[in-house]
């Protein structure tokens, strides 16, 4: 006998909710425990970054970029300063380029640590969270040694780096590189190897290759759907063409591969850092740039591979000290499109898991 008079439950999740990773809100339609419709609501963290840039000088805007994807702030600095450098035609010293790569890849590892940790936490596994945070702490310590701050590092300048890393930085980096393989083993043991975790990750939230391409998904999520696309290889910026590294691609299209691909990327990042530490030359860390930055009239677009996806800056200059228009193309914002399509039909617990594996940072979504 069919049950009559049942009703859809409309559940408001967020903006204050344990697993919406910041200020994200979704209105979820539920049929029992099954999700039938999701309406995402964003904008709770909107600070008007793009408009703020118009009333700041070019250098003044660098600290603001830290607040975009606050889990990988060197990447945001990097994308912005490189865009301005491209506009001005500045050549950055070799040593600064190597330092940028080292800090960028460290930030990628730290960001992926958070992603894996928060995925585990969203599954109710608190212990993996502490393991990953323990190791991420060492990266933040290295940031602190160099720039003085841990999360919003503001580590790059137009034309170079803010400071030379201190003497104790290099031994700390070396010991991190040495310990990392063992740490990764531990993560497999505590989380990925677990039967329950695998049952909840595998074949959940399928994002087919075609759909991923059509939604212009970028970053690890796209590569977990079997598309070999990475800005570092597709359009090499900085000095990435000098390093020998692979772009990890997985074809599972599911939550498990979206999580595991982060582990693969950590491995590749470690490889890049090892090469950078080996090859880094001596020399200055700042190019000769004028005190007042006045790029020529024109417009420029530049993109980098952020841990979350492709991060692009589009800057229009009118020849004054302030940009006339700044537009930010952030990975998380565009990747968030997949949630209402992919998560429908799964259980409410899977919705949380799928959202966790997307690794959206709301600072970058709302800008």
């Amino acid at each position: 006998m069919a049950i009559e008079n049942t009703q859809e439950l409309i559940l408001n999740m967020g903006p204050q909710h344990p697993s919406t990773h910041g200020l994200f809100r979704m209105i979820v339609h539920l049929e029992g425990e099954t999700v039938t419709k999701i309406i995402p609501k964003i904008g709770y963290l909107h600070r008007g970054m793009e408009k703020l840039a118009e009333s700041r000088t070019y250098s003044q805007f660098i600290p603001y970029t830290d607040r975009l994807d606050y889990l990988a702030s060197p990447h945001n600095n990097w994308a912005y300063v490189q865009t301005v450098e491209k506009l001005m035609g500045v050549e950055v010293p070799e040593r600064a380029e190597y330092l940028r790569v080292i800090f960028g890849e460290l930030a990628r590892i730290a960001s992926h640590h958070i992603m894996i940790a928060s995925t585990a936490l969203d599954f109710g596994g608190s212990t993996p969270w502490f393991y990953l945070f323990r190791d991420r702490e060492r990266i933040l310590d290295m940031f602190e040694m160099t720039s003085g701050s841990r999360l919003t590092v503001n580590i790059m300048r137009i034309g170079g780096m803010c400071a030379e890393p201190p003497a104790e930085f290099w031994p700390a980096l070396q010991s991190f590189l040495d310990d990392s393989p063992e740490m990764l083993e531990e993560y497999y043991g505590i989380f990925f190897g677990n039967e329950i975790a695998q049952a909840r990750l595998k074949n959940i939230g399928i994002l087919p290759k075609e759909l991923a391409e059509n939604l212009s998904i970028t970053g690890p999520i796209l590569r977990a759907s079997g598309v070999n696309y990475d800005v570092r290889k597709a359009e090499p910026y900085s000095i990435y063409n000098r390093f020998d590294f692979k772009v990890p691609v997985r074809t599972g299209c599911d939550s498990f591969d979206r999580t595991m691909i982060r582990m693969d990327e950590i491995m590749e990042s470690l490889k890049i850092i090892r090469q950078a530490v080996r090859d880094i030359p001596e020399g200055p860390i700042m190019a000769k740039i004028p005190k007042v930055i006045k790029p020529p009239v024109g417009e420029v677009y530049h993109r980098v591979e952020n841990p979350k996806g492709e991060l692009g800056f589009y800057i229009v200059s009118d020849g004054t000290t302030k940009p006339s228009r700044v537009r930010i193309r952030s990975g998380s914002f565009i990747n968030l499109q997949m949630l209402p399509i992919v998560a429908v039909g799964w259980k409410i617990q899977d919705l949380i898991a799928i959202f966790a594996t997307m690794d959206a940072v709301l600072g970058e979504v709302d800008k």
């Binding site: 425990e33 969203d122 608190s126 329950i196 617990q349 899977d350």
Partner: protein, 348 residues
Amino acid sequence: METLNNLFLIIAAAIRGLFTDPYSFWADLTMSIIGCVMVIIIIFLNIFVLSIMERKIAAYIAQRVGPIRLGPRGWFQALGDGLKLAGKEDVIPAGADRLIFKIAPIIIFSVPIMALGVIPYGKGMAPINLDLGIFYYFAITSISTLGFFMGGWGSNSKYSLLGGMRAVAQMISYEIPLLLSLLGVVMISQSFNLGVIVEAQKSVPFIFLQPLAFVIFLIAGMAEANRAPFDLVEGEQELVAGPFTEYSGFRHGLFWIGEYSNLLLLAAMTTTVFLGGWHGPAFLPGWVWFWLKVGSVIFFAMWARWTFPRLRIDHLMHLSWKILLPLSILNIILTGLGIYIYRLAMGG
């Protein structure tokens, strides 16, 4: 040693001796009241021990130090937690069904008190010695499902309702394998009385005779007590706190007490039925052995909680109906065959 072993029995006899007729109605009533008070004392002591134990074990597993500020090495942290909860404002949501909302935590809290009353803590030390001990245990613990659902329904919150829904689905499903897994033990010991069951384990604990039932009982028991990885009812990451979402202050504290008491109940029941209760080498009194065994079961539950992620609701149902239930029925058949062969061999 003998005195220490029978310490509580001697005290009980002394109290009975104060009455002119030691076996009159009034003497029995007094002893029952003292028994109940003792159970409540056990429950409150248990909360203070378990909550600090849980924090320290969690910290140890997650490579932290845990609470260290309050008291020596942070051992008074539980006291601080309790005072904090008691001092908080008691909020009842505007749309709540006030009566149901208020009764729910009381039900959750009173179930473990009633159930712990039949556990034999030592030889002859069951506060209430029931012939249908196991039957009573199941009858009483089923009521706690009702408490969870009342909390979920009475709060008039969607998260609470989903939590209450999960509580009913989960706890009713797991009650069946839980009950069936104990039937093997009852068949061997030929009694529902928990004291007799412990007595039957004098030479060999039932964990060795009924290993399958032990595993089923522990898994289903953890699910029944809503311990992680089966804590879907609370489901912090998706349901905030399930049926407890809208509770604050001491009402929330009662749920908290209920949760730890259920864990104690599970451990006490596992000890009584499978680990041989108060039996143990004679260099320690029986009741010390009982508590040591209870402690190790609790440690196991905490270890599991801080290691495993949470199951999904349909996997949970799958585990109960498709795996644990057939296995527990298989266990009954195997036990029956075993007893039959044993009797044939013994020439009975």
